[in-house]
């Protein structure tokens, strides 16, 4: 099966540093697959995600998408750790932001907004400004904005790390629901191994400088998964020892 997103031979070095963050790094994402990337802080998880998103240009190597970008959707969409809503836009206008770069009629645009707001349960809040939203609502808006451009792969940079534990669990459940409904691939960066095991089909552990894949562990627990099972705890322990 063709991968939706493939990174080959990626070399990334920040200016002024002699050791690359990524050196001949390889990763391929299958359609509909949920990958979690874990690793200690500073190992280059977010950097890798930005390379995959096309926001950082590697010095060597290439990123391949299974089809070219077109004017009606984007192949990749990113969800940021800080939510990154524009405070001067209402919730629905924030969701519309990604659509403004596409060639859509106003009707199509509004339909897409309505659809993702329904999917993420934000319909009642659409006229609110970001400062009127809770941390969880901000993250859901970030996810809605990414979904609106109808990507094949959703790139998520520690999206739930800044919210409280209860909100995090409900965001995780919601993400899984949206993921299963939409069939999109997800690359989910987190420093929380338990979160990675609970969510993903495959957990990748990054370590070292330059970062390499220390572990690539398929998680075969049947869905829907329960939190706090011995099975999860065992996998968390196993993956944690590789960190």
């Amino acid at each position: 099966m063709a991968s939706v997103l493939r990174a080959q031979d990626i070399v990334l070095r920040f200016p002024g540093s002699d050791r690359p963050v990524l050196d001949r790094f390889e990763l391929s994402v299958q359609p509909g697959e949920f990958i979690a990337i874990v690793g200690g802080s500073g190992v280059g998880k977010s950097t890798l995600l930005r390379v995959l998103a096309g926001l950082l240009q590697p010095q060597a190597g290439r990123i391949t998408l299974d089809a070219a970008e077109n004017r009606r959707r984007r192949r990749r969409a990113i969800v940021f750790q800080d939510g990154r809503l524009m405070p001067w836009r209402t919730l629905d206008a924030n969701v519309a932001f990604g659509l403004e770069g596409l060639q859509l009629t106003n009707t199509e645009r509004n339909e897409r907004i309505d659809e993702v707001l329904r999917l993420t349960g934000l319909d009642d809040l659409r006229d609110r400004y970001p400062h009127q939203l809770s941390g969880g609502q901000v993250q859901r808006t970030g996810i809605a904005r990414a979904l609106a451009v109808q990507p094949d792969v959703l790139l998520m940079d520690e999206p739930f790390s800044a919210v409280d534990a209860l909100t995090r669990e409900s965001l995780q459940d919601e993400l899984l629901r949206v993921w299963q409904l939409s069939g999109k691939a997800v690359v989910f960066v987190t420093h929380d191994i338990t979160e990675a095991v609970f969510l993903a089909d495959r957990v990748i552990v990054l370590s070292g400088t330059p970062a390499s894949i220390a572990t690539n562990k398929p998680i075969e627990i049947v869905r829907p998964r329960q939190r706090g099972t011995a099975e999860i705890a065992e996998l968390v322990r196993e993956i944690g020892s590789a960190l």
């Binding site: 998103a53 096309g54 926001l55 970008e69 984007r74 969409a77 990113i78 940021f80 800080d82 990154r84 524009m86 405070p87 001067w88 836009r89 209402t90 932001f97 990604g98 403004e100 770069g101 596409l102 400004y129 400062h131 904005r145 451009v149």
Partner: protein
């Protein structure tokens, strides 16, 4: 409370006049100010002076604001332009607007255009600096967001992200300009262009100090009105800000 302070001030003023704390005949009598106001009004001097001043004000403020904004925004977003203009700005900026009066008279004679020119110079610098630093201080994470959603091209990036993000700072500059223009206006008109400044000057020439006070108060009223009006516009444009 405020009223009490005002009454105390008037009493002190009246005392200064009756007890002749300054040279006789140079201290206006506060209680003669209302009748002097009626005088100026019925003689047909006050209203034409106000409207003439407002013409200088509108042109000077409008041109200075627009040019200051354009140059500031251009310099802050374009490296080449920034480099080219840096020295010029450093040389011209310390020159007080009133120093330009010489050229205003040489180029425009004693005319509306001359007064507007001097006002525009003061307003230009205020807006130039406010816009420049507001644009420079836009959170770069918003630029990353715009690139992530395919809107990193110059015009799109700056119209949809930089401009709204910088708008509080730009508005602060505009509002300072609203006040600064008024200050320069009177000084520019003292040189003889018809307007409130000129009326003040000629009233002082014949020792009609009550009339001078009338114009001072008129300046205060008109300024308060324009500042209030601008405040309303600003509140409306920036209503997304958390209050």
């Amino acid at each position: 409370m405020g009223l009490l302070g005002l009454a105390a001030f008037l009493a002190l003023w009246k005392a200064a006049e009756t007890l002749e704390w300054v040279r006789r005949g140079t201290m206006p009598d506060p209680f003669l100010v209302p009748s002097a106001a009626l005088d100026e009004l019925s003689s047909g001097r006050l209203l034409p002076a106000i409207s003439s001043s407002l013409i200088h004000y509108a042109w000077g403020l409008g041109l200075g604001s627009i040019l200051g904004f354009l140059v500031g925004a251009g310099a802050a977003t374009n490296q080449l332009f920034d480099g080219l203009h840096a020295w010029l700005a450093r040389i011209l900026r310390p020159i007080p607007p009133l120093a330009w009066v010489v050229f205003a008279i040489a180029w425009f004679k004693v005319s509306h255009a001359g007064a507007a020119f001097v006002i525009a110079i003061g307003v230009f610098w205020v807006n130039y600096f406010a816009t420049y630093s507001a644009v420079r201080n836009v959170d770069p994470r918003f630029h990353e967001l715009a690139r992530a959603f395919g809107q990193g091209a110059y015009v799109k990036l700056h119209v949809s992200v930089t401009l709204p993000a910088a708008s509080p700072g730009i508005f602060a500059g505009l509002r300072t300009g609203v006040g600064q223009a008024w200050m320069t206006l009177i000084a520019a008109e003292l040189l003889g262009v018809p307007g409130m400044g000129q009326e003040m000057n000629s009233a002082a020439g014949v020792g009609a100090y009550e009339a001078v006070v009338v114009y001072m108060l008129a300046i205060s009223v008109v300024y308060s009105c324009s500042d209030w009006l601008f405040g309303r516009v600003e509140d409306r444009a920036l209503r997304w800000r958390p209050s």
